[in-house]
């Protein structure tokens, strides 16, 4: 294949995958995946641990070879491992090391030297939230700070496409928010980002489009709204009742661990019936909650369906 060095017209997706398969011995980790990512998009691959996310992202990065299928990233076949390809991507792996005795700035400068058009080192440190830590040795950093070094190292080459494999796993909630802000800032700056995560909220907050994956197969793909909407526009009503009480049967509420739950397309009518019953019999509705179906519901439903098929 003679791919153009830098496709001028951006008609081609940045990432295009068709029929991707990957086996490790007899284990099929990826079983026929199709996906595409357009320029400037933040794309999330969402799925439980062991779903095949890391395998897919590492195939796109050129770290692993596929068993079958077509993969084109920025016009290149990643597994040919061309230098011109590596010059255009940035990679944050799940786990990586750097020389512990160098300082943050030295590491970022060292890596900047590998690229033809690196970003400014100071600016990169600031973007990654390392502005004050430049002269600190890697050894002395906390886990979260090392993660920021990973990001700075991935960014300093000025990548057109940034891979983030579970970028916030192990973060505390505030570090997580900070990381999200950083990623959103990069996206606003026009970067194309491919991320994997097993956090629903992360995919929802960050991704323009996402694909839900389980056991090596894509179960659904689209925007978060599409995914939620596609599984019917339902609302969820949740409440608790005092011991021994049950709502009227015609509502079709189901009992979960400690609460009653029901889903409906007509929340106003159902609430009217429910509150009317409550007043009538004097059954207090404790912790009443009306919510839209969340991405989490879709995810759990899809993965449960998938498990049911096995």
């Amino acid at each position: 294949m003679t791919a153009p060095e830098r496709p001028g017209g951006e008609a081609h997706p940045v990432v295009e995958v068709r029929g991707l398969r990957k086996s490790y011995g007899t284990l099929e980790a990826v079983r026929g995946v199709d996906l595409h990512v357009d320029r400037g998009e933040v794309f999330a691959l969402l799925g439980p641990n062991g779903a095949g996310k890391t395998t897919i992202v590492e195939i796109l990065e050129g770290h692993r070879e596929r068993t079958a299928g077509e993969v084109i990233v920025l016009g290149h076949d990643p597994q040919r491992h061309e230098r011109t390809f590596r010059e255009r991507i940035g990679i944050v792996l799940q786990q990586t090391g750097v020389d512990e005795y160098l300082t943050v700035r030295e590491v970022v400068e060292m890596v900047a030297g590998y690229y033809p058009h690196p970003r400014d080192v100071d600016e990169t440190l600031a973007t990654a939230g390392l502005a004050d830590l430049g002269s600190r040795r890697i050894r002395k950093l906390s886990g979260g700070q090392k993660r920021r070094v990973d990001l700075a190292v991935a960014l300093v080459g000025g990548p057109e496409l940034l891979f983030l494999d579970e970028p916030t796993t192990g973060f505390d909630p505030s570090a997580r928010r900070q990381a999200w802000d950083t990623i959103r800032g990069l996206a606003a700056g026009g970067a194309t980002i491919f991320l994997t995560t097993h956090f629903m909220d992360e995919a929802h907050v960050l991704a323009d489009r996402l694909a839900i994956i389980a056991e090596g197969q894509i179960l659904a793909a689209g925007t978060a709204d599409e995914l939620i909407g596609a599984r019917s526009a339902t609302s969820r009503i949740r409440f608790r009742l005092r011991d021994g009480m049950a709502p009227p049967d015609d509502l079709g509420a189901t009992r979960s661990v400690d609460a009653w739950e029901l889903e409906t397309d007509r929340p106003a009518a159902v609430l009217h019936r429910l509150t009317g019953w409550s007043m009538e019999v004097g059954a207090e509705l404790l912790d009443l909650e009306v919510s839209r179906r969340s991405l989490e519901d879709v995810y759990l439903q899809l993965t449960a369906e998938e498990a049911g098929l096995e």
Partner: protein
């Protein structure tokens, strides 16, 4: 930046990181000197003539083969190699940085041992043989570094690195005219030990210090080492790996 400049730059970063850990750096240089002192005490007067070139060989083996096999296996396990593999840095330039740094440490160690042998034990440095010494050191360092990279690929994880690498290198050193004079060993062992390169490295270095050998350029020893060097490069190409094994 040219690829060659990138490789030289990698050596500089490796070197900088090395000196940032003073205890590790200190013991890298002290270790062979400790052996030198112990052997001289054990074997008494006259032993220094043998043990100065022998410990030079030991220092080069430690600084290249042992050090590369262990540190590269550990770096791979930590994911350092994989990260580098994802950048545009040519893989050979990264490895050249590690090998180049190891060779610089080895040369400094050679100088330290040679000077210590001269100052402490009065063993003359054979300055007249300097070009041949440089040639022998260059071929030995290249061969041992190639095998260091190859063996790093055979080590499954960081925890196994010291045990495995020592289990390979220490027995070989014992039958190589390094820790022990092979003319006192059973003849079959003396003969058998000539298949491996460290024996020939030691024989060449001893000859340059006036012990055994025919004088002049030790072509046989250089030839055997070079053949092992080619095999080492092939083994490294076959076994070297950038990915941590999990």
């Amino acid at each position: 930046m040219t690829d060659l400049a990138l490789a030289v730059r990698q050596i500089r970063y490796e070197n900088r990181a090395f000196w940032r850990n003073p205890p590790a750096a200190f013991f890298t240089f002290a270790f062979p000197l400790v052996f030198m002192v112990v052997f001289n005490v054990l074997f008494g007067e006259g032993a220094a003539r043998f043990f100065t070139p022998a410990i030079i060989v030991f220092g080069v083996v430690t600084a290249t083969f042992t050090n590369i096999a262990m540190t590269v296996a550990i770096a791979r396990d930590d994911g350092v190699l994989k990260r580098m593999r994802g950048t545009p840095l040519p893989p050979w330039a990264y490895l050249a940085g590690r090998v180049g740094h190891a060779v610089l440490v080895a040369l400094l160690l050679v100088a330290i041992v040679a000077v210590a042998g001269w100052l402490v034990y009065g063993v003359e440095i054979p300055w007249g043989e300097l070009p041949v010494i440089v040639l022998v050191l260059a071929v030995a360092a290249a061969t041992l570094s190639a095998w260091g990279l190859a063996v790093s690929g055979l080590v499954p994880n960081a925890d196994a690195a010291p045990a495995m690498v020592n289990a390979i290198v220490l027995p070989v050193l014992f039958v190589s005219n390094v820790f022990f004079q092979m003319d006192q060993a059973p003849e079959w062992l003396d003969t058998a030990s000539r298949v491996q390169p460290i024996r020939h490295f030691a024989d060449a270095m001893l000859a340059l210090y006036g012990i055994g050998g025919a004088g002049g350029v030790p072509w046989l020893e250089l030839g055997v080492m070079a053949a092992w060097g080619v095999a080492g490069v092939l083994a490294a190409l076959r076994f070297f790996s950038w990915e941590p094994r999990r």
